[in-house]
């Protein structure tokens, strides 16, 4: 059996990749994908602990996360499409109107 630590390390690496993607990429679609990556990294952690502790609660949490992620993806993509139609660009650095 693969030890728990391996799962956690993998999950942390995936999460960090997601964070870096969210913070640095210049394309909103990639940013959205990075957010999915972070969510799935968290899912992986939940599953690993669930298995390790022999409890079903972690798996329940994963279902919730997946449902939220699906909804978020739908809304997020819809927003991205309407932003693109409006501005012909998906670079978050060009979307800075909401400031002082």
């Amino acid at each position: 059996m693969v030890p728990l630590n391996y799962y956690l390390i993998l999950s942390a690496i995936v999460f960090a990749i997601g964070v870096i993607g969210v913070l640095t990429r210049r394309n909103l679609i990639v940013v959205l994908m990075s957010i999915e990556l972070m969510l799935n990294a968290v899912n992986l952690t939940f599953i690993a602990f669930s298995r390790f502790l022999g409890s079903m609660e972690g798996q329940v949490a994963v279902f919730f996360v997946m449902a939220v992620a699906a909804a978020e993806a739908v809304i997020g993509l819809a927003i991205i499409i309407s932003v693109y139609r409006h501005r012909q660009s998906l670079d978050p650095q060009e979307m800075q109107l909401l400031k002082w």
């Binding site: 964070v19 913070l23 940013v31 978050p92 650095q93 979307m95 800075q96 109107l97 400031k99 002082w100």
Partner: protein, 638 residues
């Protein structure tokens, strides 16, 4: 519904006496312009006329010692302190009711003619009716607080009426002056009320009701009563134009002449005398205040009379004569002769209203001219005005068998018989001066050559009947009202008998022989005053136009520079203070504080607003840093 304990009778008709003029005023406010000038004026007159009719009815219904009361609702109900909105009528109030509504009605009718050409006639009658309303509230109030409402109300209306022709800034300034000077007096008055309430409340009696007050004021200490009466008297000096607050009244001449008649004769200025008479039970307990009142009254009487000697404006003479006559009234109050004071209020209302309306008639005929040096010889052109003016002049001068003779003589005799010989002497001198300046005016205006310019002479005309009839009625009153208060050696006084229920039985000091001697002395000095005026202004070829350069003459002509003195002592420092506050304190200290705080906030935000870039990824980085910090913190906990 008779309350057996006090003899107070409920009487629902009373409320209509003040309410009808209020109604007239309100209707004219909203519909006056739609009604048109003539109808608005007629409505105003009808309202006061109806009120006058009810007042007469109440007067004849009222039993000698009875009190009618009409409680409308409870105004203030706070624990044991209850103030009703309620009106009362006793002998004193009934007399004042007749003066206010009767003279007020005649002045209203007169105004129909006088203001007939004025664009603002509807507005004028709104103010007049409101004035009558507040004056009626003042005299009919059964508690001190409601009296104060009327007191303030007449102050407001006087301001509105004095500044009626507001296009001329001088009129507005005169209105402001009346309002502000009255305000100073009112401050004293309301402080007096506060002190009375709290001091009585400390003894467990919470009331402002006159009947209750009369029962309980004895429990107050003399020093407290002295202070209360002093404060109340400060209010009276403001409203009734006594030294030192008389300065507003001569300036109040800026208003239309019927207003002067209304303020000076029927209402407003008599409020102070009425208030002291209404609270006579309180004032009687304060001998020091009473003596101050007497001296203030005497000083005001002689002071104003000396100013009136040299004035050239027809209304200014009458204004100072009013101040002087009010001085007589307070002299009477001060020696404890409340009945005599109210009697003089009563007779003075007739002849002073007649004089003012007569002066208005003259001014009307001369198209607004008020300088007596440009009048003269009007006797032939306006006989009705002339003869009524003569009668009123005789009355104010105190010629025997006119109203002024009886009332003024009564006051002088009261002063004499109470042993106040100096006050009596001052009153006597004032009587001589009164005769002089009134006859000077009569000669200057109606006798001799006409000195008006040709254009004005061509325009000369007697006033219409709507103006002369009030004059005639007032002239009749100027003679016969006095007969109610004749001295014992003639046919005795019905007046004292009528007011006995309020002021108690008049005490008779001194002998009848002494009284007759005093009267003869008064007549003698009055005759001297009249002869002096005749010799100087009435003879053919009298030199009217020149004044005199000597110091006393100039002092009198310039009103002893009192206005200038007040200007220097009070007004200037006040405006300087205001200017410092407005130009330095306000922009630098007040605005500086506010703007400084704003500047600090702006400076701080200038530093921190760089954080808000609008870039979502920067915010996300912020989240990350925060999350890592929290994580580090919790890890550090282990």
């Amino acid at each position: 519904m008779v309350s057996s304990e006090t003899g107070i009778v409920g009487y629902d008709l009373l409320r209509w006496i003040p309410l009808i003029p209020l109604l007239g005023s309100v209707i004219n406010i909203f519909f006056g312009p739609a009604l048109g000038r003539k109808n608005a004026g007629a409505l105003g007159c009808a309202a006061v006329g109806a009120s006058c009719a009810i007042a007469f009815y109440v007067f004849f219904q009222l039993p000698a010692a009875g009190i009618f009361r009409d409680v409308i609702y409870t105004w203030i109900d706070s624990g044991s302190f209850i103030v009703n909105l309620s009106f009362q009528a006793d002998a004193l109030t009934a007399v004042m009711l007749l003066i206010v509504t009767g003279i007020g009605f005649l002045i209203h009718v007169y105004s129909l003619g006088y203001m007939g050409h004025d664009e603002g006639e509807a507005r004028f009658f709104v103010y007049l009716n409101l004035f009558i309303f507040f004056m009626l509230v003042l005299v009919m109030a059964d508690n001190l607080l409601l009296l104060f409402v009327g007191w303030e109300g007449v102050g407001l209306c006087s301001y509105l009426l004095i500044g009626f022709w507001y296009e001329d800034v001088n009129n507005t300034i005169a209105g402001n002056k009346a309002f502000i000077v009255n305000r100073i007096g009112d401050l004293g008055f309301i402080l007096g009320i506060f002190l009375l309430v709290t001091e009585l409340g400390r003894q467990g009696i919470w009331t402002l009701d006159f009947a209750e007050l009369q029962k309980h004021v004895q429990i107050l200490s003399p020093a407290t009563i002295g202070l209360i009466t002093l404060l109340l008297f400060v209010g009276a000096t403001g409203k009734s134009a006594q030294i030192p607050l008389f300065v507003w009244l001569p300036d109040a001449m800026a208003g239309p002449t019927p207003v002067s008649a209304l303020i000076h004769a029927a209402t407003m200025v008599t409020a102070g005398v009425y208030m002291t008479a209404r609270l006579h039970f309180l004032f009687s307990l304060a001998p020091a205040t009473m003596s101050l009142i007497a001296w203030t009254g005497a000083a005001t009487a002689v002071f104003a009379a000396t100013i009136a000697l040299t004035q050239n404006d027809i209304k200014k003479v009458l204004a100072y004569s009013t101040v002087s006559q009010l001085g007589y009234m307070f002299l009477a109050v001060g020696v404890g002769a409340f009945s005599a004071a109210i009697f003089h209020v009563f007779t003075h209302a007739f002849f002073k209203a007649c004089l003012f309306l007569g002066a208005g008639s003259v001014i009307h005929a001369l198209a607004g001219e008020q300088n007596m040096r440009k009048m003269g010889g009007l006797k032939a052109h306006m006989p009705k005005t002339y003869w009524t003016y003569v009668i009123a002049t005789l009355a104010i001068a105190g010629i025997p068998l006119t109203a002024g003779f009886f009332s003024k003589d009564l006051i002088l005799w009261q002063a004499f018989s109470h042993g106040a010989y100096v006050l009596w002497g001052v009153g006597l001198v004032t009587a001589a001066m009164t005769a002089f300046y009134m006859f000077r005016q009569l000669f200057l205006v109606f006798h001799g050559e006409c000195r008006a310019d040709a254009h004005a002479q061509a325009h000369l005309h007697e006033s219409p009947a709507v103006m002369t009839w009030p004059l005639i009625l007032l002239a009749i009153g100027s003679v016969f009202t006095g007969w109610l208060g004749a001295p014992e050696y003639l046919w005795g006084s019905r007046w004292d008998h009528w007011l006995e229920a309020i002021f108690g039985r008049a005490e008779h000091h001194g002998s009848m022989a002494a009284e007759i001697t005093v009267t003869l002395l008064t007549i003698a000095v009055v005759a001297v005053g009249i002869y002096w005026a005749y010799a100087k202004y009435g003879t053919a070829g009298a030199r009217i136009d020149e004044g005199s350069e000597n110091l006393i003459y100039r002092l009198s002509l310039n009103k002893y520079y009192i206005d200038e003195l007040y200007d220097f002592v009070f007004v200037r420092p006040f405006t300087v203070c205001s200017r410092v506050l407005a130009q330095w304190i306000d922009p630098w200290v007040i605005d500086g504080t506010v703007n400084g705080i704003a500047a600090i906030a702006r400076g701080m935000s200038w530093v921190t607003r760089g954080l808000q870039t609008g870039n979502v990824q920067h915010y996300a980085a912020g989240f990350l840093v925060g999350a890592l910090a929290l994580l580090a913190y919790y890890i550090g906990q282990f």
